[in-house]
Amino acid sequence: MRTVSLLEQTDAMLVRQTLCGQANAYNTLVQRYQRQVYNLAYRMLGNAEDAGDLVQDTFLRAYGALASFRQDASFLTWLYKIASNLCIDLLRSRKTRYALSLDAETDEGREPAADSRSSAPEEIAVRGAVQDVVHHAIQNLPERYRVVVIMRHLNDMSVEEIAQALDLPTGTVKTHLFRAREMLRGRLRPVLEMEADGK
């Protein structure tokens, strides 16, 4: 008889076991998906400390609502839904200077002045890492665009999965993705030119 280890068990089985009172099954789920949730939170919030707190809150909230998980989407998509809602709530509630300036400028479709300065080639050379520039450019996107870009390009989710996670129509997700890329293209122009010159 084949023994099924915890690592090989499907999410649905682990959820069922958790609901039956086996805490170890939920521990496996946490270990399985904490990195994906952390990365979504890190790119959304911009720093590791807040991302760590958000990972904990996400899994706590998921545990509390596990009985309502209907399994019409994957467990990871459900986690992303919780995490993205928490991220957006946190960003809105803190009202940091960073978020305020973004909301004021990017919601109207204008380019932030500070961002254009930070994307100058000299600045890029000082920072030395394209990833940092991209990270900061994503940070400067409005929340609703940021989450779509992160889910699409960092978490490799399809448009349909993103739509499911964010409770949005597929067309809206595509539109957000297009607008986000357009904004990023403007802000990453020096990087793109550098890449083009490199080729």
Partner: protein, 295 residues
């Protein structure tokens, strides 16, 4: 719009029916805006299909082309690429989009600063302890019962018995629950032998049984003949079917020729079979009690 769609349809038909591979491969032919004489002559239609409007419409489709999300049909993709080959503005737009996506795709997953599972499970215990009471796993199927039983045994039980014994117990339980009870088995067995008795006690029954066995032998022979071409499997199947066929032949002859003496033989068979079944069941129940410690 209608005229534009008609133009693409015409281009496809042209390729399809004229079978002109040179034109099919030459994408530049698709890049040319539709000539005005194919369209309605009103100004609105002509303006709608002007080169500038065409670029706008091409650029609307470029994100889907970059994502390759399946919304652009192959022939439309070919047409778009053909346009990109002759339109530097749209080509630049497309190239920048591709480069943006490529840069975004370079974003790598950050390593975890720590393993959060311990903290999370501790907080769950503190803040939501006892939310999901420990209970028997849902009995959806014997397989899930076995799997859940294994994981539960692996996690929680160390001093009572070995995990393998518990697994054995779980399997036994699921099998017993999913099959017939003891008295149902006795009734089924009795019905089977009663039917057999009816058949063997009458000349018609014996002839029917013999004919059935003859038919079965015929089927086996056909299967053996069908597989005899296969090198190893054919030989193995032939040997196995030969033995079975001989046994069936013996039974067939017995049922056909023997009369009342078959009844006596059958009674002996029933007694022997019943004794064996009772003995095996008794041994199984003893072993089950020994493995569970009498619980």
């Amino acid at each position: 719009m209608v005229a534009y769609a008609r133009y693409w349809k015409w281009k496809r038909m042209e390729n399809k029916y004229e079978n002109n591979p040179e034109e099919r491969q030459e994408w530049g032919a698709y890049a040319t805006p539709p000539p005005t004489f194919h369209l309605n002559s009103d100004k609105q239609e002509v303006q709608q299909n002007s080169p500038a409007t065409l670029c706008v419409r091409v650029q609307e489709m470029l994100p889907s082309l970059v994502d390759n999300d399946g919304t652009i049909r192959p022939e439309m993709a070919a047409a778009l690429f053909a346009h990109l080959a002759v339109c530097p503005t749209c080509a630049k737009e497309f190239e920048e989009m591709q480069r943006t996506v490529a840069v975004l795709n370079t974003l790598a997953l950050q390593p975890l600063p720590m393993d959060f599972s311990g903290v999370i499970m501790h907080r769950i215990e503190l803040e939501m302890g006892g939310l999901y009471a420990k209970q028997a796993p849902p009995a959806t199927s014997p397989i899930s019962q076995v799997q859940t039983g294994e994981s539960y045994a692996t996690e929680h039980i160390t001093d009572f018995a070995t995990v393998s014994q518990l697994q054995h117990t779980t399997v036994e339980t699921s099998v017993t629950q999913s099959t017939l009870t003891a008295w149902q088995r006795v009734v089924a067995l009795g019905a089977f032998f009663a039917t057999l008795l009816v058949f063997l006690s009458s000349g018609w029954g014996r002839a029917t049984l013999g004919a059935s066995l003859q038919t079965a032998r015929g089927w086996l022979r056909q299967i053996a003949q069908a597989t005899e071409e296969i090198p190893l499997l054919g030989w193995v199947t032939g040997q196995a079917f030969s033995v079975i066929s001989q046994s069936l032949h013996l039974l067939e002859e017995t049922y056909r020729t023997l009369g009342a003496s078959a009844m006596k033989g059958l009674f002996v068979d029933v007694v022997v079979a019943t004794t064996v079944i009772v003995f095996v069941n008794g041994r199984k129940s003893q072993a089950r009690k020994a493995s569970t410690g009498g619980l």
